[in-house]
C-alpha cells in the first residue's frame, strides 16, 4: 500500500507538467479570425458554429413541415451536439436516430428527397462517409441527369464533420472534399465559421441539387461570432474575399482560411506586403471568377488545404489558374497541403500545412 501511495504521488507530481505539455500538444494550430460583417441587418446572438448549425436546422424544421433530420445518435443531439434539443422540439418522427449504417443514411435521404421531403442527413464523421459513397456518387449526383429531369434529390443535404482536431488520427481528421468534387451533380460546401455555416447550410438545404456540407469539427466550439438570428442564406458557388492586398492571392476553405489570414498578417508585419485572402466556401461548383480576377491582379497564387497534396482540390484550382491567368503570373502557382499520407495521430503538428509552412512558401512565392 505504501509503495502504491508513493507511486500515486509520483504520478500526481508529474501530472501538472504533463497536462501542460498535453495542452500544448493538443492546442489548435490556428488563431480564429471571426467575421465582423453581418450578411443581414437585425438582431444577432453570440453563437459558436455548433449553435449556428443548430439554429439553421431549427429554422428549417420550423418553416418546412416536410423537413426531417436524422443520422447516428442524432436523437440526443449527435456526438457534436449540433441537433441538441431539436428532437424535443419537433418530435421523434422528424428528428431521429438511424441504425449505424452510412449507406443506409444516404440512400434513405435520397428516397426522402425523391418523394418530396426535405432531408438533412448527418454522417457522424466525414471519415465514415465512404460506405455512402456509392449512394452519393452514383445515385444522388446522377438522379436528375439519368431521369431527364423527371426526378431529383436536390432536397438532400448531407452534413459531416471534417478536418483536423488535434488528436483525431487517421479516422477522425480527414477532409474528403476532393473525392466528391470529382462528381458532377453534387454541391460541396465547407464553412469557415458560424455566420458562414448558418447561411451556407440554409442555402444547401434549399438548393435544388444534393449538397455535401462538410463542417470543420474543430470550429464547432472554438469559433464564436455574433450571428444574425433571422433567416438568411449565403450564395452557393461564390467565394468571399476576406482580406485585400496587392502582392499575392491566398486561397483556402474551412479551418485553413484562418491559417492563411494569420499568414497574411505575418506577411504584412514581417515583409510589409499585402495579400488577398479568399475563402472558396463552395468547392463544387467553385467560384473561378473571384479567384482568377484576384490572381490577375496580384500575379501570385498560393492554395492551401489540409487534405493530401496529390489530387487535392488545390490541383484543380492550380490548373484553372494557370490556364486563365498564365500571362499574369509572376511565379508558379503554389500549393501547401497535408502530405501524401494518411492523417497521422501523433505527427499532426508535422502533417498540417501550418502557418510556418504556408509562410515559408509565401516568401518563396514572393521572391520567385
Amino acid at each position: 500500500m505504501a509503495s502504491l501511495l508513493t507511486q500515486k504521488s509520483l504520478v500526481i507530481g508529474k501530472l501538472t507538467k504533463y497536462v501542460n505539455d498535453c495542452a500544448k500538444r493538443l492546442s489548435s494550430h490556428f488563431i480564429y479570425y471571426p467575421d465582423n460583417e453581418k450578411p443581414i441587418s437585425g438582431e444577432t446572438t453570440k453563437m459558436n458554429m455548433m449553435q449556428a448549425i443548430n439554429n439553421a436546422m431549427d429554422i428549417t424544421l420550423r418553416d418546412d413541415p416536410t423537413a426531417v433530420l436524422f443520422g447516428e445518435d442524432v436523437g440526443f443531439g449527435g456526438v457534436f451536439r449540433c441537433a441538441l434539443g431539436l428532437q424535443d422540439k419537433y418530435g421523434k418522427d422528424r428528428v431521429f436516430n438511424t441504425p449505424l449504417c452510412e449507406q443506409g443514411i444516404a440512400g434513405f435521404g435520397i428516397g426522402l428527397a425523391t418523394a418530396g421531403a426535405t432531408a438533412i442527413a448527418e454522417i457522424q464523421f466525414a471519415d465514415y462517409i465512404f460506405p455512402a459513397f456509392d449512394q452519393l456518387v452514383n445515385e444522388a449526383a446522377k438522379a436528375r441527369y439519368r431521369s431527364g429531369g423527371q426526378f431529383d434529390c436536390g432536397a438532400l443535404t448531407v452534413r459531416a464533420p471534417c478536418g483536423a482536431v488535434g488528436h483525431g488520427g487517421l479516422y477522425h481528421s480527414q477532409s474528403p472534399e476532393a473525392y466528391f468534387a470529382h462528381t458532377p451533380g453534387l454541391r460541396v460546401v465547407v464553412p469557415r465559421g458560424p455566420i458562414a455555416a448558418k447561411g451556407l447550410l440554409l442555402a444547401c438545404i434549399r438548393e435544388r441539387d444534393p449538397c455535401i456540407f462538410l463542417e470543420p469539427k474543430i470550429l464547432y466550439r472554438s469559433a464564436t461570432e455574433e450571428v444574425p438570428v433571422d433567416d438568411y442564406t449565403l450564395p452557393l458557388g461564390k467565394a468571399q474575399v476576406l482580406r485585400e492586398g496587392t502582392s499575392a492571392t491566398l486561397v483556402s476553405w474551412g479551418t485553413q482560411v484562418h491559417v492563411l489570414l494569420e499568414v497574411a498578417q505575418l506577411a504584412e508585419d514581417q515583409l510589409g506586403v499585402t495579400v488577398d485572402v479568399i475563402d472558396l466556401q463552395s468547392i463544387l461548383p467553385w467560384d473561378e471568377e473571384t479567384v482568377c480576377n484576384s490572381v490577375k491582379k496580384t500575379g501570385r497564387c498560393l492554395i492551401s488545404h489540409e487534405a493530401p497534396l496529390t489530387c487535392g482540390f488545390g490541383a484543380e484550382l492550380a490548373a484553372t489558374v494557370q490556364e486563365e491567368c498564365f500571362l499574369h503570373l509572376e511565379a508558379p502557382v503554389c500549393r501547401v497541403s497535408g502530405w501524401d499520407t494518411p492523417f497521422p495521430h501523433v505527427f499532426e503538428p508535422f502533417y498540417l500545412p501550418d502557418r510556418w509552412r504556408c509562410y515559408e512558401q509565401l516568401v518563396k512565392l514572393l521572391n520567385y
Binding site: S3, T341, H345, F350
Partner: protein, 364 residues
C-alpha cells in the same frame, strides 16, 4: 460467476462442427398438397393460405449458459474441463483489464492520452472466447476486446505504449489510442471504421481454409451497432456461401454510443440473422461479469493497478517516434513524390525548428 461467458464459448468451440444448433419450433401450418420448392438451405412447401411471418412466428433464440446468477454450475455435465491455473489466469486478466480501464479512462479525462474506450462489463466474454481458441487463430477485433489481447500475452506496458503513441508503439503513433494490433499474437491491427473488419475476417478465414492441413480459424468481434452496416451483412453472406472457418462474435451491450438497440434493429436480435443466412448460430450469456468483482482478491487488484501505473510512468518517459515515420509505410517503398515531400519538410524544419515540438520526438 464472472466467467460465465467464457465457459459458453469453450462449449461453442467444441460444437463448431456440430449440426444445426437452433431450429424453429413453431412452423406455419402446411398444406401437404402443393409440393415443395428448394432453396439452398431449405425445402419450402407451397401453401394456399396467406400467412405473414414475423418475429413472433418463431421461438426466441435461447441464451446458453453454464452458471446461474450466483455463479453456480447449473448442469455439471455442461461444465468444461479447464485447469484451475488457466481459470485463475483468466480471472486475473479480467481484474487487470478492469484496473487498466479505470486508470486509462481517468488519464484520458486528464488529457494524458487523447482517447480511450473502456471494456467494462464485457471482460468475461473476452476471456472466454480467447481461451476457447488457439493463440494461432487470427483475431479481427473492434476496439472493445482488450481482454483477448491480454489473454494472448500482450503486456499492459505494450498496450499503454500504443495509447501514448510513443516510439515503442508497434503502430508508430499513427493511430488513436486503443487501436492495438500484434502480428506476433495474430491480432490484426484495429481500425476505427465500424464493421469493416467483418468481410475481411471472412476473407482471411477462406485463405486459412485453403492452406494445406489447416488447423486455424478466425474470430471476428463486433457490436450490435456495427451489425447494421452493409459490411456486416456482406460478411454473414460470404461466410455462409463460401463456408469459411470463422466465428462472428457479436457483443450486444444494448447501446451504440447513445442509440439503444431498440432503435438499431427489430426482431430477435443479431443472432436471429444467423440461421437466415445459413450460419450455425448460438446466443450465449455474456453479461453479469462484474458480479464477481466485489469478491476480487484485493491483492490482485493492487498488483494490477501497480502494473498499469508503472506502465504509464514508463510510457510517458518515452519519446514519440521520429517525425519521418509519418511518411513511412504508406507504400512498401517510398515513392519519389513522398521522398520529395520528406525533403521539403526537412528543409522547412531546419529553418523553422523552434515552432515544432521536436524535443518530444526521437531525432534519429
Amino acid at each position: 460467476m464472472a466467467l460465465r461467458a467464457g465457459f459458453t464459448f469453450v462449449k461453442l468451440n467444441s460444437l463448431r462442427q456440430a449440426s444445426r444448433l437452433l431450429s424453429t419450433h413453431t412452423r406455419p401450418d402446411v398444406c401437404q398438397n402443393g409440393g415443395i420448392s428448394e432453396f439452398p438451405g431449405a425445402k419450402a412447401p407451397y401453401v394456399n393460405e396467406i400467412k405473414f411471418l414475423n418475429e413472433n412466428s418463431y421461438d426466441p433464440i435461447p441464451i446458453y449458459r453454464v452458471m446461474d446468477s450466483n455463479g453456480r454450475v447449473i448442469d455439471s455435465r455442461e461444465e468444461p474441463n479447464i485447469d484451475k491455473e488457466i481459470l485463475i489466469n483468466m480471472y486475473k486478466n479480467m481484474i487487470q483489464l478492469n484496473q487498466m480501464d479505470k486508470i486509462l479512462y481517468e488519464s484520458q479525462r486528464q488529457g494524458r492520452i487523447s482517447f480511450y474506450m473502456t471494456n467494462y462489463g464485457e471482460e468475461g466474454i473476452h476471456m472466454g472466447s480467447a481461451a476457447a481458441l488457439s493463440p494461432r487463430d487470427l483475431v479481427f477485433a473492434q476496439y472493445r476486446e482488450v481482454g483477448v489481447l491480454l489473454h494472448r500475452g500482450i503486456t499492459v506496458s505494450e498496450l499503454v505504449n500504443q495509447c501514448y503513441g510513443n516510439c515503442e508503439d508497434p503502430g508508430k503513433g499513427r493511430q488513436m489510442p486503443v487501436h492495438y494490433g500484434s502480428k506476433q499474437h495474430n491480432i490484426v491491427t484495429i481500425s476505427s471504421p465500424l464493421a469493416t473488419q467483418l468481410p475481411q475476417a471472412v476473407g482471411a478465414a477462406y485463405a486459412l481454409k485453403r492452406m494445406p492441413n489447416n488447423d486455424r480459424c478466425v474470430i471476428c468481434y463486433f457490436g450490435e451497432g456495427a451489425a447494421s452496416e452493409g459490411d456486416a451483412h456482406a460478411a454473414f453472406n460470404f461466410a455462409a456461401t463460401l463456408d469459411c472457418p470463422i466465428i462472428l462474435m457479436c457483443r450486444n451491450n444494448g447501446y451504440a454510443i447513445s442509440t439503444p438497440s431498440c432503435e438499431q434493429y427489430k426482431g430477435d436480435g443479431i443472432a436471429a440473422r444467423g440461421p437466415a443466412f445459413g450460419l450455425q448460430t448460438i446466443r450465449v450469456d455474456g453479461t453479469d461479469t462484474l458480479g464477481g468483482y466485489p469478491e476480487a482478491d484485493t491483492q490482485s487488484v493492487k498488483e494490477s493497478r501497480d502494473t498499469v501505473v508503472r506502465a504509464m510512468q514508463d510510457a510517458e518517459k518515452k519519446k514519440l517516434p521520429h517525425w519521418k515515420e509519418m511518411l513511412e509505410d504508406v507504400y512498401y517503398d517510398m515513392p519519389p513524390q513522398l521522398q520529395k515531400q520528406m525533403k521539403q519538410m526537412e528543409k522547412h524544419l531546419e529553418k523553422y525548428s523552434e515552432h515544432y515540438p521536436l524535443n518530444k520526438y526521437l531525432n534519429e
